[in-house]
């Protein structure tokens, strides 16, 4: 018999209790997995909006609470092109509206010449050449059931699909590249853009160029990756905050559940713990046994929670309005986070009962009825 086998035998003595405790923690893990996968998916999707056609930076209005609220004159965005450290700057208007069943269809308004210069990877058709044509993401095309030559209505304006593209991020592939002037007219934002996609000149460092742009105009912010996104979008921070809050909640509720189970288990086995001490077990070994039992329950909960989390997330994305904009990302980081939550629950939940068990005097424990 190994020490691990002894731990499992102890848990199997109260199968129902062990199972119910594990399910309780698994629900917490499920929440961590589901929210983590959604948050990571959202971050990846948001990150995808920061780049287009090989750009290095997205320059936008500093302090906007949401990227789509960023606003600057088209001329100001276009002027970035004149900088020596910039290879090209393409003004872009990001507009979110309901298209088909997707309530968050993102239209990327760009000048036709810029689209031709740095197009997204095409999978069908060609880049738009006229004001009434769009380049539709393959995910959007699938959701809307249209292909090249078909039509799509964005902001009550009908466009013909000139081509399809695939970038690999949810919000871009679910949206469309629309001629800038047409989108400004349709969205009633004439002469205004969200910002500009910027490609730095060869040999230049994107971070340094971004800092130079910000130094030249304090009203602007240059975003290189999704971690800088908070400068123009509080949504990502809100999701991260919610994720952390749910994780802490899962730890709190889970730890109380585990503690309840382990305290009960230790109390019931007081006499047995006395026997173990009487035959020579050190307090430390008793602690290892109790903590081992707690970790085993939480690892079972982790595995069950992984499955439940994936199921719950996939179930939510079956709703068309959500599935169109949300692609959960089950990254290693999400799994590690859930595992850390499970282990913290195990350790916090076992701490008190384990210390209590280790402090029992053998005779005091043996007298326990």
């Amino acid at each position: 018999m190994t020490f691990g086998a002894l731990i499992l035998k102890n848990l199997l003595r109260h199968r129902v209790r062990t199972l119910l405790t594990a399910v309780g923690i698994a629900i917490g893990i499920m929440t961590v997995i589901a929210l983590g996968a959604v948050a990571t998916g959202a971050r990846q999707a948001a990150g995808g909006m920061l780049q287009s056609g090989g750009s290095d930076l997205l320059v936008a209005q500093k302090g906007a609470s949401d990227l789509t609220f960023s606003s600057m004159p088209t001329r100001q965005a276009a002027r970035l092109d004149r900088r020596g450290d910039v290879a090209w700057a393409h003004p872009v208007l990001l507009d979110v509206s309901k298209v088909g069943s997707n309530p968050y269809f993102v239209a990327f308004g760009m000048r036709l010449a810029d689209l031709a210069e740095a197009p997204p990877p095409l999978v069908a058709g060609r880049v738009p050449r006229r004001a009434d044509q769009v380049l539709l993401g393959d995910r959007g095309a699938r959701d809307l059931g249209v292909g090249v030559g078909g039509t799509v209505e964005i902001q009550r304006t009908r466009f013909r699909v000139a081509g399809l593209f695939h970038v690999g991020t949810t919000w871009q592939d679910g949206g469309a590249y629309v001629p800038l002037v047409s989108l400004q007219r349709a969205a009633r934002k004439p002469g205004v853009v969200t910002g500009a996609y910027v490609r730095v000149a060869a040999g230049r460092d994107a971070g340094a160029v971004g800092e130079a742009i910000e130094a030249a105009d304090p009203q602007l912010v240059a975003i290189a990756d999704v971690d800088d996104m908070a400068e123009v979008d509080q949504g990502i921070e809100a999701i991260d905050g919610l994720n952390l809050a749910i994780s802490l909640l899962a730890v709190g509720i889970g730890a109380i559940g585990v503690m309840n189970t382990m305290v009960m288990s230790v109390f019931e086995r007081t006499r047995e713990i006395g026997i173990l001490r009487a035959v020579g077990w050190r307090g430390r070994r008793v602690v290892r046994m109790i903590v081992g039992e707690s970790i085993a329950v939480c690892l079972i909960a982790f595995v069950v929670g992984l499955g439940l989390g994936a199921l719950a997330t996939e179930a939510v994305t079956l709703v068309p309005a959500i599935g169109a904009v949300l692609e959960p990302a089950y990254t290693v980081a999400v799994m590690v986070r859930a595992l850390v939550v499970a282990l913290v629950v195990a350790l916090v939940g076992a701490a008190y009962p384990a210390i209590r068990a280790a402090r029992l005097l053998p005779m005091e424990a043996l007298r326990h009825e």
């Binding site: 018999m1 002894l6 102890n10 003595r13 026997i275 035959v279 077990w281 050190r282 043996l366």
Partner: protein, 237 residues
């Protein structure tokens, strides 16, 4: 004089804030390899004395030396309990979820014995106590006498030189009790064990080299090794 295995001097132990005085200056010496029976009326402090010697309880005053270990001087007595003394209770005190073999292996976790060695030694010990065919049975599947024999095998798991038994036949019928005593006598002879055994049964005590009587928390017979005459005669069986 024979070498002393167990020496107890002026042992005092009280409970409930001094209201119950279980030991009031108990003295005892047990020679190495000796088999001593401890007798006395209920509440005279026999079991308390045994438990203090087994380091299950700390005395309020007095000294306990077992095989050269001064239990006062050792902060963590786990190693002492694991290696120096083997303990058998009146109720077997086996772990119900474990098989006989696993119960015998439990004390070996603390001595760094490998998994295979633990299993081999447990099976050998169970064969020694006549339970070679019951290694996979849980306590609930064994008779009272068999459980007590498993408990004896567990007490010997780490090959301790001293066996402490607290009324090991107290919950058994005479036949099963007789077998357990046969086993203890045989093991004592074969393994050179020092045995200190608490009993109410004069018949059990008669099997010992000598009987020590206790009354009101004190040992009545003078602390003595076998060549010292006993203050009280051995109770007839």
């Amino acid at each position: 004089m024979s070498e002393i295995a167990v020496e107890v001097r002026g042992l005092v132990k009280s409970y409930e804030g001094g209201r119950i005085r279980a030991l009031r200056g108990a003295d005892l010496k047990v020679a190495r390899g000796e088999f001593v029976a401890l007798m006395g009326p209920s509440g005279c402090g026999k079991s308390t004395l045994l438990h203090v010697i087994a380091a299950l309880d700390r005395p309020d005053a007095g000294h306990v030396h077992v095989m050269g270990v001064d239990t006062d001087a050792v902060r963590d007595l786990s190693a002492y309990r694991a290696r120096t003394v083997g303990l058998v209770f009146q109720l077997h005190n086996l772990l119900p979820a474990l098989t006989a073999s696993e119960n015998v292996q439990v004390p070996m976790f603390e001595t760094g014995t490998g998994r295979r060695e633990r299993r081999r030694r447990a099976d050998d010990l169970l064969a020694l106590v006549g339970l070679a065919d019951r290694t996979h049975n849980r306590p609930g599947e064994l008779s009272g006498g068999e459980r007590q024999r498993v408990a004896i095998a567990r007490a010997l798991a780490n090959d301790p030189p001293v066996l402490l038994a607290d009324e090991p036949t107290g919950s058994l019928d005479s036949k099963a009790g007789g077998r357990v005593m046969d086993l203890i006598e045989r093991l004592r002879t074969e393994r050179g064990l020092t045995v200190l055994l608490v009993t109410h049964d004069p018949g059990v005590a008669a099997r010992a080299d000598r009987t020590v009587h206790m009354l009101d928390g004190r040992v009545l017979a003078p602390a003595a090794v076998p060549n010292v005459p006993l203050a009280l005669p051995v109770m007839p069986s």
